[in-house]
Amino acid sequence: MKTKQTIAILGATGNMGSAIAKSLAKGNNRLLLFATRQQRLQTLISGIQSETPNADVEAYDCPTSASWEADVIVLAVPYSAENEIASKIKDVANQKIVISIANPLNDHYNGLVTASDTSAAEELQKLLPNSRVIKAFNTVLAADFTTPVIAGMQVDAFIAGNNTQALESVSELVRTTGLNPIIAGDLSVSRTLEQMTLLLIQLNMKNNYNWLAGWKILHN
């Protein structure tokens, strides 16, 4: 696609938000970065500009105006902040792709705070009924964006959602980050994807993977 896509990243200075921003800045994208920590946001933007000199990236101090201008919105805030930010972007996110990267982990990292018959993504969809919520990037650790090939294999990035076109657009975005997109199913599959990350994090802590690990489906 020749036309630049405008992507708002809300919560851009977090581990995941900044990793996604750095990675997407390399594609044909215009990035609007929102974060509450302005100082860190400026540092992030300078970092992106020195790493990718032709990056089109701008700081925003309001999630609503960033989302209004965007074609795609990446919600990179913790699960606990989803409610508040959703109310701010609901009107301007109408019909837009909203990527849920959240993993609703509890404080001890030994379970999820969501009930077993739902997921962070499905809860977000309830808050944004006219948006196309897509689960993506949640099964990937922040370091995987700089090292998308681990032990000679490209890390898989699972995607779930209810709209075919939106799933294809997000697959394309995942591809620009160097990860391998796999469409896993409809939005309810997010329950599995969020559980998979819980397991990945637990194994990482247990086996000292040093936070560089990922999922890979082996197949013939």
């Binding site: 020749k2 036309t3 405008t6 209004w68 074609d71 009107d91 109408n94 019909q95 837009k96």
Partner: protein, 195 residues
């Protein structure tokens, strides 16, 4: 956000509040900064864009890479590469914001669903596309058979409120003239008015 869109809609086809709410759920609010593209030629045009604030232009490139402006759109106007939107073939036009703009977009899938769901949306679209065809033919005919003076006067009639907003070289490109010809035309028309 949606006021002007529904005002223009109701001017042509009056809508119940229920229909209005159904339609609203399918609309995409979007902002564009000056010089940003909504569409670049070669991509498929995925949206109809209604302008609630600002101004846009659509243009084609000739074989020498020179830009020719085909349409302007300001508040209350709709702009798209209709050919590409309807056929899903690559667009031949690029659409760019010439001022910071606010738009209401209707995606192809939203358009298809609304045509099925809301009869009045279909009527509105019929009027919109009929008008687009009429102005296309008018423009085509006038470039062949009208004098440049008539074309310029037609332009003033069609775009009365934007002449002062748009740089002269863009108006010249729209009319297929050089900026100096436009200056001479303006001078001649001013004299004509005085007499």
């Amino acid at each position: 956000m949606y006021d002007l869109f529904f005002q223009m809609f109701n001017d042509r086809v009056s809508l119940s509040l229920v229909d209005q709410d159904i339609i609203k759920a399918y609309l995409t609010p979007k902002k564009l900064k000056k010089r940003q593209y909504l569409l670049q030629e070669g991509d498929v045009c995925k949206h109809l864009a209604f302008v609630t604030k600002g101004a846009l232009r659509s243009c084609v490139l000739d074989e020498n890479g020179t830009e020719h402006i085909r349409q302007f759109a300001v508040e209350g106007w709709t702009i798209a590469d209709l050919f590409s939107f309807l056929t899903e073939e690559p667009a031949t036009h690029s659409i760019e914001a010439i001022e910071d703009s606010e738009l209401i977009l209707i995606s192809k899938s939203a358009h298809e669903e609304l045509l099925q769901k809301v009869g009045k949306y279909e009527t509105y679209m019929r009027i919109l596309i009929t008008n687009a065809y009429i102005s296309l033919q008018k423009r085509f005919t006038s470039t062949v058979s009208s004098s440049v003076e008539e074309q310029y006067e037609d332009f003033l009639k069609n775009y009365p409120d934007i002449v002062s907003r748009i740089p002269q070289h863009m108006i010249a490109s729209y009319l297929g003239l050089t900026p100096s010809t436009i200056s001479r035309l303006r001078a001649r028309l001013a004299v004509k008015k005085e007499n």
